[in-house]
């Protein structure tokens, strides 16, 4: 089976400062991949390059076997959705209107939203469990509710691949678990997910595979138990961790600074 998304030798420099160096990455259908790494490792930049929002200086990104520039933006937008970091909402829009924005890639400029779009919006609201918030104003929601609404917007596009930049940052544990479950279910249902994560435990529990980024390079990639090992964490994050392995469960507690 071909990779849904594949990046080869991607390098990006901003103001002559290298941000990404020779990064390779691939995501198969059905996978929930976590992108981890310390602050400033280039995770957000990599996500933007993979979403086609930023050009790579060298290297190539292919979606379903075709290079990104060969795909029309709207065509790509129907199959790949991007959840921005912090996910701002600039106007006090109604929740269902925000979710409806996810249908924009499916509408030609002369078309009005039809029954299929309404159905997709309803499904997305139900999927993210925000149906009861539909008449609320997005700017008055709590952080957890807002993230789920924005996730519903992503679901409304009915994409195959979701690229999410820190989807659980600043959420309480309940909402963190909720959002991670929603992303995992999406990956296992029909598509794939690549999410930037800072919480190593959530990454360990929910992701099928991890990619560890360090100073613009892929320091490690593979299964949770191959990536989240003490030697790696010390080298990349500079922390000692307590790792608990209990049958199928694997958890990592960063314990003290190592340098």
């Amino acid at each position: 089976m071909t990779d849904l998304l594949a990046a080869d030798a991607v390098s990006v420099a901003i103001d002559e400062r290298p941000i990404l160096r020779d990064v390779g990455l691939h995501i198969r259908r059905g996978e929930f991949v976590g992108l981890i790494g310390p602050n400033g490792a280039g995770k957000t930049t990599l996500l933007k390059v993979l979403a086609g929002l930023q050009h790579a200086d060298t290297g190539e990104v292919r979606f379903d076997g075709r290079p990104l520039p060969a795909l029309a933006p709207r065509q790509l937008a129907r199959r790949l959705a991007y959840l921005a970091q912090g996910a701002p909402a600039h106007w006090p829009l109604r929740v269902d209107k925000v979710v409806a924005l996810g249908r924009l890639p499916h509408l030609e400029w002369w078309q009005r939203p039809g029954a299929a779009d309404e159905a997709a919006i309803e499904r997305a609201l139900a999927l993210a469990e925000v149906g009861h918030l539909r008449a609320r104003t997005v700017t008055t929601l709590s952080g957890g509710e807002r993230m789920r609404v924005l996730l519903a917007r992503v679901f409304a596009s009915e994409p195959e691949l979701i690229l999410a930049d820190e989807p659980v940052a600043a959420l309480d544990p309940y909402h963190q678990l909720h959002v991670m479950e929603l992303l995992r279910d999406h990956a296992h249902r029909c598509g794939a997910v690549l999410a930037v994560l800072h919480d190593l435990n959530l990454a360990a529990r929910f992701c099928d595979r991890l990619v560890l980024l360090d100073e613009g390079r892929v320091a490690a990639a593979g299964g949770v138990r191959q990536v989240l090992v003490n030697e790696q964490l010390r080298r990349v994050y500079g922390v000692e961790a307590r790792i608990n392995e209990d049958g199928a469960e694997y958890s990592v507690i960063p314990w003290r600074r190592a340098r």
Binding site: K48, A77, A89
Partner: protein, 332 residues
């Protein structure tokens, strides 16, 4: 937040259209002569009432509608584009810069070269202003940066206009320019209207075609792009749309301020803050407000007519202060 009832388009737009028609008819009746409608309609050319209606009042009020649509629409588009409720064609310097373009066209005697020379001058000026604002304030402009950028542009442009006045060939030309700068739609002929209308129409269509992009933009630039909009191209499209219609409008009507700020702001709660819907309603709302202002102008001082730009500024200035007062916590 105040709970204003959100109206669907099928209710709001007919409502605004009805208001527009009512204001239009009332506006046509203003003036020193009480209009005899029967005579005006049956003998459009032969009777004095016909001439007054068809050659004086109708071009004037049609121009009021066109300029009103332009200002309301471009205000809504700029606010959506910059995601900033305090943007407006005049506050960011677009109106003034368009005026400078037109003044220079007049000053160097270029206006007579072609029928489209004056609107073209206005459009070039407007384009320069929008590009300057973007360059100065950047894409992610905060409220303060934006207003400061607009202030700086306005200051420079005002001094350049003053320079042109300073060296104007004769007092008559000078007073001509000054009166024109105050903003007025009085004594405009249908030729003036027709010279500007094609460009305004083109600008309106361009701006209306940006509606969905502006909707997507409410989730930020990156998200809009990820929803399939070529962000860079769409921004250019909006900028050109503003330049086309504001440039052409200002070239005919002079500097009529604050409509572009006030109208979208008043209508935004009614359309549930959706930028695309705001475009359509602000276009109609702008026309209604400008017609209303024109009625007021003719009622208040029938003999020595008050300039339209003066009255919109008198109403708009305090409104702007009120906006700043209400948003003052978000400004710092």
């Amino acid at each position: 937040m105040k709970a204003t009832r959100v109206l669907p388009d099928r209710a709001l737009l007919p409502l605004l259209l009805a208001a527009l028609l009512v204001c239009f008819v009332i506006a046509l009746q203003q003036g020193p002569v009480a209009l005899d409608w029967r005579q005006a309609l049956t003998e459009p050319r032969a009777s004095i009432h016909g001439v007054i209606l068809w050659q004086v009042r109708l071009p004037r009020e049609l121009l009021a509608i066109a300029v009103g649509i332009t200002l309301g629409l471009s205000g809504a588009a700029l606010q959506g584009l910059l995601r900033n409720p305090l943007a407006g064609p005049d506050l960011v310097g677009v109106t003034n810069c368009a005026a400078l373009g037109a003044v220079l066209t007049l000053y160097f005697g270029l206006a007579g070269l072609a029928w489209f020379a004056l609107p073209l001058g206005g459009m070039v000026g407007a384009l320069v202003a929008v590009l300057l604002v973007f360059a100065l304030a950047g894409k992610q402009a905060g409220v303060l940066t934006l207003i400061l950028a607009g202030m700086a542009i306005n200051a420079i442009v005002s001094s350049l206009i003053a320079l042109a006045l300073n060296y104007s060939p004769n007092p008559f030309a000078m007073s001509e320019i000054v009166y024109w700068l105050l903003g007025s739609i009085a004594n405009r002929s249908s030729a003036d209207l027709l010279a500007a209308l094609p460009f305004m129409l083109a600008g309106w269509l361009t701006l209306l075609s940006c509606g969905r992009f502006l909707d997507a933009l409410s989730l930020g630039e990156q998200t809009a792009q990820s929803l399939g909009f070529a962000g860079h191209r769409m921004r250019w499209r909006a900028v050109i749309g503003v330049a086309l219609c504001v440039g052409a409008a200002v070239a005919v009507s002079g500097n009529i301020g604050f409509i572009g700020l006030v109208v979208p702001h008043l209508l935004r709660p009614w359309v549930g803050y959706e930028p695309r819907r705001l475009l359509w309603s602000s276009a109609l709302g702008g026309a209604v407000l400008l017609l209303a202002a024109d009625i007021a102008v003719q009622r208040l001082s029938p003999t020595n007519e008050l300039k339209l730009g003066v009255i919109t500024a008198l109403i708009g200035g305090p409104f702007f202060l009120h906006l700043i007062y209400r948003n003052r916590n978000a400004l710092t």
